[in-house]
Amino acid sequence: MAHVDKSEIMDQVKQQIAVANAQELLSQMSTKCFAKCINKPGTSLDGSEQKCISLCMDRFMDSWNLIARAYGQRLQREQSKN
């Protein structure tokens, strides 16, 4: 395999993983924030629903990052046990 091909493959793999991750976030965000913010679906998204959705998206990312940190700390604690 030529040298150029290898780094190309690596970039592609990284990019595909990033895309898959973004898709997962997007899909979860839609499901969770729809459940939180749209109680009774009306004929359009009203102002308060839109505001709720944007707050929900921000809190979604905050909590995702917090959980990533908490999990990282747990993994480190488990590793230092062994």
């Binding site: 898959a20 929900c56 809190r59 979604f60």
Partner: protein, 88 residues
């Protein structure tokens, strides 16, 4: 280095890269799972920031979920062992 050595070094590097990326993807997948569970447990109505109680709930949620999984795994193994040693 000969062509052959060159290639096998390159393959090895690629294999290592794929292994690391796979591990990172698995950790990421795990975070998605924890988040899905703990969001339901801890998040009420979305507000302008995560309050302190919610942050504590989220981080406890991750740890207690892992504890629960470990406990269940251990107990499940015991059940299987008891069954296979003739108990049923």
């Amino acid at each position: 280095m000969s062509d052959y050595e060159n290639q096998s070094a390159s393959d090895k590097e690629l294999q290592e890269f794929m292994m690391i990326e796979k591990q990172k993807a698995q950790v990421n997948e795990q975070i998605h799972e924890f988040h899905g569970i703990c969001w339901e447990k801890c998040i009420g109505k979305p507000s302008t920031k995560l309050d302190h109680a919610t942050e504590t709930c989220l981080s406890n949620c991750v740890d207690r979920f892992i504890d629960t999984s470990l406990l269940i795994t251990q107990r499940f193994a015991q059940i299987l062992q008891r069954q296979s040693s003739g108990g049923m």
